[in-house]
């Protein structure tokens, strides 16, 4: 079982999906000869040619809009949005069109579309190359939103997304691209969209995270273990549909919940998780449902000093874990 980083796992997933089904094609800015600005699609243009790996014009709304049309004409498009910050011009096509087409046609039409996009910060990308966008889209019925954190999950979830008959927003934390490595099986496998994954079992508190923060939480949990606190770390993996069963079962066991994300706290995805816990595990709670999120400033600045001040860190997460454990 070869070891690879998250980016390579995604590339391999794309490659295998394209080899297996000629209906699959890739559409986005610089995905062709350039292989994408992060090199995720590197080599695919040479392998599958310009009719299946297509450089789009610089226009996100029609990247998604055209892929919706293509999906309705018997192909399986994978749209790449170069940075999640630039998905905003496609908001209308994603929310009002892709997400509502199956419902509005009473089940007649389907939109089997994957939208891949790198999100998140900590890479000195400044206000417009660091944003997290999951809260906007996880709110939208008809969409699925996936946020893998390991190479294994990334490849397995990508294949599930490509085969899913619904529009799937596939969010790749760009700092994990090369930072996170792991073993990926040779054989064809899937990770289903939906189930969360307990990445570290524990007894004292439950922590819910995804993307880069999942790794920071695992690091903090390690620290806490040395202090005698057993932390369960749950990788949400899919934000919509959310695996509330696994979440509630974990909280019912530990009695304490902490949710961590990098996106701005207020109105972020953590609010939903917290609300579900507060309503449905109320009787089991031995402490307040806590949240850590990015501060409520418009975005993550460029200057190192400011970027560092923005990002939740393993240390700040460990502090919150201690506080919750001690409650």
């Amino acid at each position: 079982m070869p070891e690879m980083n998250l980016l390579e796992a995604i590339r391999q997933g794309l490659d295998e999906a394209m080899a297996a089904d000629t209906r699959v094609f890739i559409f986005g800015e610089d995905v062709g000869k350039r292989g994408g600005v992060f090199r995720v699609t590197e080599g695919l243009y040479d392998k599958y040619g310009p009719m299946r790996v297509i450089d789009s014009p610089l226009a996100e709304s029609v990247i998604v809009g055209a892929c919706i049309g293509a999906a309705m004409n018997d192909t399986l498009p994978i749209a790449e949005i170069q940075f999640a910050d630039f998905i905003a011009p496609a908001f209308n096509q994603i929310v009002q069109e892709a997400a509502r087409i199956h419902y509005r046609s009473n089940g007649d039409w389907e939109v089997p579309l994957v939208i891949r996009t790198p999100y998140g910060g900590g890479i000195h990308g400044a206000l417009y190359h660091s944003q997290s966008v999951e809260a906007f889209f996880a709110h939208v019925p008809g969409l699925k939103v996936v946020t893998p954190s390991t190479p294994y999950d990334a490849k397995g979830l990508l294949k599930s997304a490509i085969e899913d008959p619904n529009p799937v927003l596939f969010l790749e934390h760009k700092k994990t691209y090369r930072l996170i490595k792991g073993f990926v099986p040779e054989e064809d496998y899937r990770v289903p969209i939906g189930p969360a994954d307990i990445k570290r079992p524990g007894e004292d508190i439950s922590v819910f995270a995804y993307g880069l923060m999942l790794h920071y939480c695992l690091e903090a949990a390690q620290t806490l273990a040395a202090e005698g606190v057993s932390v369960e770390v749950v990788d949400l993996r899919t934000l919509r549909p959310l695996d509330t069963e696994t979440i509630l079962a974990s909280v019912r066991r530990t009695g304490k919940a902490l949710i961590v994300h990098e996106d701005n706290l207020f109105g972020g995805f953590g609010g939903e998780v917290a609300a579900i816990i507060a309503e449905h595990a109320f009787e089991d709670l031995d402490g307040p449902v806590m949240r850590i999120g990015g501060p409520d400033v418009p975005a993550m600045p460029f200057a190192h000093s400011l970027e560092a001040a923005f990002m939740p860190s393993p240390a700040s997460i460990a502090t919150a874990m201690r506080r919750l454990a001690a409650y």
Partner: protein, 342 residues
């Protein structure tokens, strides 16, 4: 590259060699659309149809175009005025009325959408939303997929002139032009976007002037002349099937009604214009043409009107009898179920 129909159509003879029964069929569809549309307003006034948005004045543009397409093969993405389009493509009058009454068996949406938001996968009528212009991008994408697959279906999409102000219009035309996609963009220019006149919408006289900005033909045609529209569309379809790329067609039409049943156009439209519009009725025009060329007798016309009226009566009755959606079905079809792996 903007050309007017007079220049391109050295018409080979009246009706572009279409046989008489086809010409009569065209008229029949126009009359059917009109009769259905008029009935909808009656039902609206009677409190039976909460919302109507009309095709009146656009019939020739739609029927002419649709007759140049291949039913069940080509994709159509008509906007909310596309009643005549969907009739030609195969939606039945009863199905249209089921949509008006928001019945469970409405083929477009099962009563979920406002009336006139057509869709039917079997007929390749692509489901439409209300935000204007989004469908133009879908048409480009259908064309892109067709090119990838190596097929020769075309995507035909319609929209109003106001909608050309949306970014999606621009992005879609540009994409289709770059990749020479088999798409026909039909702008039905009725000079108004609700209350906003074309003069406040754009600083050009014709939407067709925009074709050259994308390197594609922009053609302006009298959209009240069904045969003229048929001919320009036929050529555009040929061009698209040949792999030569998209065409932008502006069909100059008239909006014979208020924007919708929620509107009152006397607040912004001068009275003489409202009168004038009545004189540009595409159906009156086509009847006269057919009469002149001996293709439609007075008696045939009357028979056709009676036939159409009967169809509308029956459609209305059938649709009214159909059941409303059950409340529990609210939760159906949020997600499509997994497909068997191929």
């Amino acid at each position: 590259m903007t050309v007017s129909i007079n220049e391109i159509s050295a018409s080979p003879g009246f009706g572009h060699d279409l046989p008489p029964h086809t010409l009569q069929d065209m008229l029949r569809y126009m009359m059917l659309a009109r009769a259905l549309d008029e009935r909808m307003w009656v039902l609206n006034r009677a409190g039976k149809a909460p919302f109507v948005i009309s095709c009146q004045g656009h019939e020739a543009a739609q029927v002419g175009a649709a007759f140049a397409l291949s039913r069940g093969k080509d994709f159509v993405l008509p906007y909310y005025r596309g009643l005549a389009t969907v009739l030609v493509m195969g939606m039945t009058p009863t199905e249209v009325m089921l949509g008006l009454f928001a019945r469970a068996t409405d083929p477009s949406s099962g009563g979920r959408q406002m009336p006139a938001h057509y869709g039917c996968r079997r007929l390749k009528i692509v489901t439409q939303s209300s935000p204007v212009g989004t469908q133009i991008a879908h048409a480009a994408g259908i064309g892109l997929a067709e090119k990838i697959k190596g097929g020769d279906a075309v995507a035909w999409v319609s929209f109003g002139e106001g909608t050309t102000s949306q970014g999606d219009f621009h992005e879609a035309l540009n994409l289709a032009a770059v990749h020479r996609l088999p798409v026909i963009f039909q702008c039905e220019n009725n000079e108004y976007a609700i209350s906003v006149h074309q003069r406040q919408q754009m600083a050009v006289a014709s939407v067709a002037d925009r074709g050259p900005a994308y390197g594609i033909p922009g053609i302006s045609v009298d959209g009240t002349d069904v045969l003229a529209v048929y001919e320009v569309t036929r050529r555009a379809v040929e061009r698209a099937r040949r792999g030569d790329g998209p065409t932008l067609i502006e069909a100059r039409v008239v909006r014979m009604t208020a924007h919708s049943s929620d509107d009152n156009d006397r607040t912004y439209r001068p009275p003489h214009e409202l009168t004038l519009v009545r004189h540009q009725d595409p159906i009156v025009r086509f009847v006269a043409q057919l009469r002149e060329h001996g293709i439609l007798s007075e008696a045939e016309e009357q028979a056709m009107r009676a036939e159409v009226a009967a169809i509308v009566d029956r459609a209305t009755e059938e649709a009214e009898r159909a059941p409303m959606p059950e409340p529990e079905t609210l939760y159906d079809h949020v997600y499509a179920p997994a497909r068997p792996r191929r």
